[in-house]
């Protein structure tokens, strides 16, 4: 059977990106999120400042970029056979049922992350709105700004009690949900691509505005002459080279690169499946990754920590992702005086756009899967997907005390799930599909070439690196999260809900296989369309 004779399913196969830039911005938009602006600088400061960049760049080169290339390549290959869902693509790539069912991870991860990410997106929208309308007031006494910021965050997130401020938080959540469902319902090019093409440049503009302000702050408080722009940059970038001897630094850098690039997320394997066979994946994958790195290293590295240090000193520039973003920075904006309201609005608008382009990408893979598995229209698939997504998200919204439900999903799926799925993908690419065959497939239509050394990196280095990071991460964090299952009923119920989601996805994957086989499609990838590997120089 030739390429032309291979049957393909209709509905989703008719979807296409309208331009190369569109798919690059959509993938970058999916990757750029709160972690770029808030998690990266926090991790860098905790793990050696500028010295953190050494393990960070190594992880980028040996882990992030090769796994990304593998995902782009496998997705385009599967897409050419008419498949757009992770189980169908990995079934065709891996040549069997096992890899197809492992592909369920590529649906579980985006679906579950969507459940809590849309809640965080709602916070960003609320903060942007509050800055625009003057709804955020931290009081007149600078010594009590932190307290005011904490109270505001508690009102927006409900962190101080289960269901706290629930109705007040429900309305913006509904609005954000409607926006997400509407854009995903419009499809790949008219919905997701248009949002990314508009959102990404707007996000960059917002970041430039805030960066420009931070770098011109000077020394705002003469009582603390050391708290100035250079002091802030130094706090972030002065290297502590002794940290490089600590395994935790390497672990943190690898994890940061990994989560930031959204590899193993289940998004690229869907997005790139809408490319044409002759479309480039190598340069596109590298461009999407480098765009993400620009937002992370340039904007994340020069804005957040220096701004906090300039106004609050070293003690104020510490804190986790949420603490830094939603409690520390509002205090910084309050210290800026009247202009702080404008910069606060711009900052949270940027975070909202970053979250929106990410959350859209999380629904899309599952919508494509439902289309394929049930043979329904996109509108019905969006409705079908939205039901569990909204129920899960409502659970996170209501179980707000100490953000336990959110944290549980983030660890078990948003962290471990991503690691597992990336491991599955790079092993399938390097060892089952074959690294020579995979790189040959990647070079089809490529605008740049993958260096030869990546044959070894993709086959040996990346899987080993990933397994070491996975084991190290589990060793560091798993015991506490396992204990929490027995100690906290919210954790147990959240995991029970996740088990139901997994069961539903497995059943649908069974239906997918039956349907695709009945349609006579190349479900197990037995009809090789890839030219045999050529010797390249």
């Amino acid at each position: 059977m030739t390429t032309d004779e291979i049957p393909r399913p209709r509905a989703e196969s008719e979807e296409r990106w309208s331009s190369k830039i569109g798919v690059i911005l959509a993938v970058a938009g999916s990757a750029v999120g709160l972690g770029n602006f808030l998690r990266f600088p926090g991790q860098a400061v905790e793990n050696g400042g500028g010295a953190f960049m050494i393990p960070y760049v190594i992880a980028l080169v040996f882990l992030g970029i090769p796994i990304g290339w593998a995902e782009w390549t496998m997705a385009r290959y599967g897409g050419h056979k008419g498949f757009h869902s992770s189980p169908a693509v990995l079934g065709a790539i891996g040549g069997g049922r096992t890899t197809r069912y492992l592909g369920v991870l590529g649906l579980l991860v985006p679906l579950v992350i969507y459940m809590y990410y849309v809640v965080i997106e709602t916070w960003c929208m609320r903060y942007a709105w509050d800055y625009l309308t003057g709804g955020i007031q931290l009081g007149d006494d600078p010594s009590r700004f932190s307290e005011g910021a904490g109270d505001h965050f508690a009102a927006v997130s409900g962190v101080r009690g289960t269901g706290a401020h629930f109705l007040e938080r429900l309305a913006p959540w509904i609005l954000v949900t409607v926006v997400n469902v509407w854009f995903v319902g419009r499809g790949i090019s008219k919905g997701i691509e248009r949002v990314s093409r508009l959102g990404m440049p707007l996000m960059a503009l917002c970041a430039c505005i805030v960066l420009g302000r931070v770098l011109t702050l000077g020394t705002p408080d003469p009582n603390f002459p050391e708290r100035n722009v250079l002091g802030g940059l130094g706090y972030m970038w002065n290297p502590n080279l002794s940290q490089l001897a600590d395994f935790k630094t390497w672990l943190a850098a690898a994890a940061q690169v990994f989560f930031s690039l959204s590899v193993g997320f289940g998004v690229i394997i869907n997005y790139a499946s809408y490319l044409r066979r002759k479309d480039d994946v190598v340069l596109s994958g590298l461009t999407a990754a480098s765009t993400n790195e620009t937002f992370e290293v340039v904007f994340g590295g020069l804005i957040t920590i220096p701004a906090a240090f300039i106004f609050l000193g070293a003690s104020g520039a510490a804190g986790g992702t949420f603490g830094l973003g939603f409690q520390t920075l509002p205090v910084v904006f309050e210290h800026m005086g009247p202009s702080g309201r404008f910069f606060g609005f711009v900052w949270f608008l940027m975070l909202f756009l970053a979250a929106l382009t990410s959350s859209l990408s999380m629904l899309q893979p599952v919508v494509a899967f439902v289309c394929e598995a049930l043979g329904v229209s996109r509108a019905r698939a969006v409705a079908f997907t939205s039901a569990p997504a909204l129920l899960g998200s409502l659970w996170v919204l209501y179980q707000s005390e100490d953000l336990v439900a959110l944290d549980t999903m983030d660890f078990w799926v948003g962290t471990l799930g991503i690691f597992l799925f990336a491991t599955v993908q790079i092993v399938i690419f390097g060892w089952i599909f074959g690294v020579e065959r995979g790189i040959s497939e990647a070079h089809h239509g490529a605008l740049i070439r993958i260096p030869r050394v990546y044959r070894y990196i993709m086959k040996y280095v990346a899987p080993t690196y990933l397994l070491v990071v996975l084991v190290g991460f589990c060793f560091q964090s798993l015991p506490g999260y396992v204990q929490a299952i027995f100690d906290n009923h919210v954790v147990a119920w959240t995991l029970a809900g996740l088990a139901l989601v997994i069961a539903g996805l497995l059943l649908l994957t069974r239906q997918l296989e039956v349907r695709l086989r009945a349609a006579g499609l190349d479900v197990d990838g037995e009809l090789d369309e890839v030219a045999p590997p050529r010797r390249t120089t």
Partner: protein, 54 residues
């Protein structure tokens, strides 16, 4: 800000901005082909791996 701090900051920012500029330049100057049916005979292997620009 120590001299080493400057080195790490400037080299990191330059590396990332340089890579991004290079990538977008290559994407934007790449030949834009009109949309065609990629299943059309003779289109599949039009660009072989060895034709990749490197």
């Amino acid at each position: 800000m120590t001299p080493l701090g400057w080195v790490f900051m400037l080299s990191s920012v330059s590396f990332v901005l340089g890579l991004t500029t290079f990538c977008f330049y290559r994407v934007l100057v790449s030949h834009v082909e009109p949309p065609e049916d990629d299943n059309a005979p003779g289109r599949e292997d039009e660009r072989s791996p060895s034709e990749g620009v490197g």
